[in-house]
């Protein structure tokens, strides 16, 4: 027996010769008593090992608990320090109440800290946006009866912030484009192309009265404004911002429907189909506008999925993209982007690999950090180029932290074998829903569900502009988020003589307009990418006199600027703005 144990130890420690190993293994197969001794010994060794592992684990646990307490402790100390600091600052400033010097010091200190903070941010000077020529020249192509009514101003419920600024806004509205008025028969499907090329289809019986909730029939009046041109956007006091994020616009619309003066809205299940006149722009999504303090904020309307599918409406043809559900497998494996190593396997292989990648790379701490409870399903689109590399990830409205993580994880996917069409490598998109779970009801932290592959035989151009379905009237915008990897800075500055002016920033490389907020003496634009070529534009009104000031600048930290305001007539102002249109073309 003792000899057996020695032999087994020698075998496990790999000190036996090759011949002895063979003999040993052969014996395991034929000698059942020997085998059971061997097995028991293994169990035993593992049992002894457990003692060790348990010790390690309990050490780790203690460390974990200690770290947790230290964190709280740290926060408490932090709070204490802050209160001490606050206290001493208060007492100090009391001591030197009338001296200005210390106050200045404090301000300098604050701005310094902002600078260092932004320096810590990622410095990858690659811009992911492909900068294209954005808006194609509108074709004047009016199909249906339309009459331009010159007088009516759309009654938006504006609330005043600042009376002089209000002056400007109401002035702008008075020179703004007049809506295109169209009467249609609500009992028939209706389709038309607007002045600047937007196509709208309205299904029949789509409207109900806002107040009564009753279905309407017969003639109804539509009022529509199109905003493709920068001057139109500026005159309407529009901007392209979704919360704090910059949007690039592919056209905006304002649609209103009336019947005998009472406002109408769409029935819940009805949608407008809108084809924006914006060839060549990718990844546009539908945003709905809400006016807050006179500035418009755009909110992503649908989930990404819907938009993409809409984008893909079309025949099953060479140039048109095709959506393929991976579970249905109508394609040969070589036709979709394929994970390396999955060449000879089923489509599930690629999908599983991607899932595996996601669950392995995803930092699940975020689920806890964001307090996600139950399940959260997020939609993502992974875009592969012709070489099979991920070049962009699109996500629906996510918390910045979550979006960053999803982007990081998906951008990190290895190069795929590109999708093919007729033997030629093509770009493709993968629609990948990911489910996050807090783990209470389900096994899983991160799960990627069934995915859909979308094949684009031609990347970039969407032939007929964007088709988006809108369930709402009002402000509609075909936009995409600007995903710049440029460093961002908090941009604010003083503008000479800008009392009561409406100040906007126009981005030259992307079709984007940013409003400013006046904070004390400064005009603040929030966080914007550094080193962008922009135009600062200010319009103000003094009494009956109009002034315009503008300057081309590159965004970097500056304290003040003189826009050289000059007096203009209403007509001159309009012309100045029209001159700017080329910035968006």
């Amino acid at each position: 027996m003792e000899n057996y144990i020695d032999l087994i130890n020698a075998y496990l420690n790999k000190t036996l010769s090759q011949a002895e190993v063979l003999e040993f293994e052969k014996r395991l197969q034929i000698d059942s008593e020997f085998t059971s001794i061997y097995k028991e010994h293994i169990v035993f060794l593992n049992g002894i090992e457990r003692v060790n592992i348990i010790e390690e684990i309990s050490k780790a646990k203690q460390n974990y608990i200690r770290a947790k307490w230290l964190k709280y402790f740290g926060i408490t100390i932090g709070i204490l320090l802050i209160s001490i600091l606050a206290y001493s600052i208060i007492t100090k400033s009391k001591n030197v109440e009338n001296s200005i010097l210390p106050a200045n010091n404090i301000i300098e200190f604050v701005s310094d800290s902002i600078e260092t903070e932004s320096e810590d941010k990622v410095k990858i000077p690659i811009d992911t946006i492909s900068i294209e020529n954005v808006i194609s020249k509108p074709k004047v192509n009016i199909v249906s009866k339309k009459e331009v009514v010159d007088t009516i101003l759309i009654k938006d419920d504006f609330e005043s912030v600042n009376s002089t600024e209000m002056d400007i806004i109401s002035f702008l509205k008075s020179v703004e484009q007049a809506p295109q008025s169209i009467s249609i028969n609500s009992e028939e499907n209706f389709e038309m192309t607007l002045k600047e090329g937007t196509k709208i289809s309205i299904p029949k019986d789509a409207f109900i009265d806002v107040k009564t909730g009753k279905s309407v029939s017969g003639e109804i009046d539509l009022k529509i404004k199109e905003y493709y041109k920068l001057s139109d956007i500026l005159l309407a006091n529009l901007s392209t911002k979704s919360d704090d994020r910059l949007l690039e616009t592919g056209g905006m619309l304002y649609i209103e429907a009336n019947k005998n003066g009472s406002k109408l809205k769409l029935k819940p299940e009805k949608e407008l189909r809108i084809v924006f006149n914006n060839r060549g722009k990718e990844n546009m999504q539908l945003f709905e506008g809400e006016k807050i303090d006179d500035n418009i904020n755009w909110v992503l309307s649908n989930e990404v999925e819907t938009n993409v599918t809409d984008e893909l409406i079309g025949e099953f043809e060479e140039v048109n993209p095709v959506a393929v559900s991976l579970t249905e497998v109508p394609f040969q494996i070589k036709d979709i982007p394929t994970y390396k190593g999955c060449e000879e396997k089923t489509n599930d292989c690629t999908l599983n690999k991607i899932r595996e990648h996601v669950s392995r790379k995803f930092d699940t701490d975020i689920i806890e950090e964001l307090n996600i409870s139950g399940r959260k399903r997020i939609s993502t689109i992974i875009k592969f180029d012709e070489k099979g590399n991920v070049f962009e990830v699109v996500t629906s409205n996510l918390e910045p932290l979550l979006e960053e993580e999803v982007n990081r994880v998906l951008m990190d996917l290895p190069q795929m074998i590109p999708a093919k069409k007729n033997g030629k490598a093509i770009a493709s998109q993968l629609l990948l829903p990911i489910t996050l779970s807090d783990g209470i009801d389900e096994l899983i932290g991160v799960k990627s569900d069934s995915a859909t592959i979308v094949l684009n035989s031609k990347l970039g151009a969407v032939d007929n502009g964007y088709t988006l379905n809108s369930p709402k009237l009002g402000w509609i915008n075909c936009d995409r988020f600007v995903r710049s990897k440029k460093r961002k800075i908090k941009y604010k500055l003083k503008i000479k003589d800008a009392e009561g002016a409406n100040v906007k920033m126009i981005f030259k490389s992307i079709s984007s307009v940013l409003p400013s907020k006046r904070i004390n003496e400064d005009y603040s634009f929030g966080e914007i990418p550094l080193d962008e070529d922009v135009i600062l534009l200010a319009i103000k009104k003094k009494g009956e006199k109009l002034f315009i000031g503008m300057k081309d600048v590159t965004t970097k930290q500056i304290s003040g600027i003189d826009l050289d305001f000059k007096e203009v007539t209403a007509e001159e102002l309009k012309n100045e703005l029209i001159k700017l249109n080329k910035a968006f073309e």
């Binding site: 593992n46 002894i48 390690e56 684990i57 050490k59 780790a60 460390n63 096994l443 932290g445 991160v446």
Partner: protein, 180 residues
């Protein structure tokens, strides 16, 4: 910390750091066990078991973590708890998926090791030290004899054999009581 980073810690031999990271998942496992009617102490035991199974698997060459650490620990914990509660129905066992089967196998295997551990802990202090030095620290009998002040290598070796046999006897006794 992402799973890859934790995996890196394991690979670099920074097991203490890796375990500490994984302990961050404990509150969620605790929630699970509490929701299934267990106590905090149960949750602690279950999580420890899950960690042991994980680390053992990580050391196997052919093992590949297909899910996240959290998912894996969660599944293992759930199974460990079910097993201690003897809640597996026949049908459930038949319908297990291959990944679950391997988890269950690991759990059953680990139960045997746990018995062996208990047997080991019942040995005297000196026996425990001797076996640990020989099997875990891979010391030679010569060194062991010196450190533990045995008269000779031979005495140490004999002593080790006796300790081992004693532990195995205890183990076998436990096994029969468990099985009967």
């Amino acid at each position: 910390m992402s799973d890859d980073k934790i995996m890196g810690l394991f690979k670099n031999g920074q097991r203490d750091k890796a375990f500490r990271e994984l302990y961050k998942l404990y509150p969620r496992i605790e929630k699970l066990i509490l929701s299934k009617g267990g106590t905090k102490a149960d949750a602690n035991d279950v999580f420890q078991e899950a960690l042991i199974i994980l680390i053992r698997n990580l050391e196997k060459i052919d093992f590949k973590l297909t899910a996240s650490f959290y998912t894996y620990l969660y599944s293992v914990s759930r199974f460990v708890w079910k097993d201690t509660q003897k809640q597996f129905s026949k049908q459930e066992l038949q319908n297990l998926q291959s990944e679950d089967v391997s988890i269950l196998d690991a759990i059953l295997e680990e139960k045997k090791y746990k018995l062996a551990e208990h047997a080991f802990r019942k040995l005297g202090e000196r026996c425990q030290q001797l076996l640990q030095r020989f099997y875990l620290k891979k010391m030679t009998f010569k060194v062991i004899a010196e450190e533990m002040q045995f008269k000779s290598e031979k005495v140490a070796k004999n002593q080790k054999y006796k300790c081992l046999q004693k532990a195995k006897d205890i183990y076998r006794n436990q096994l029969t009581t468990v099985q009967s």
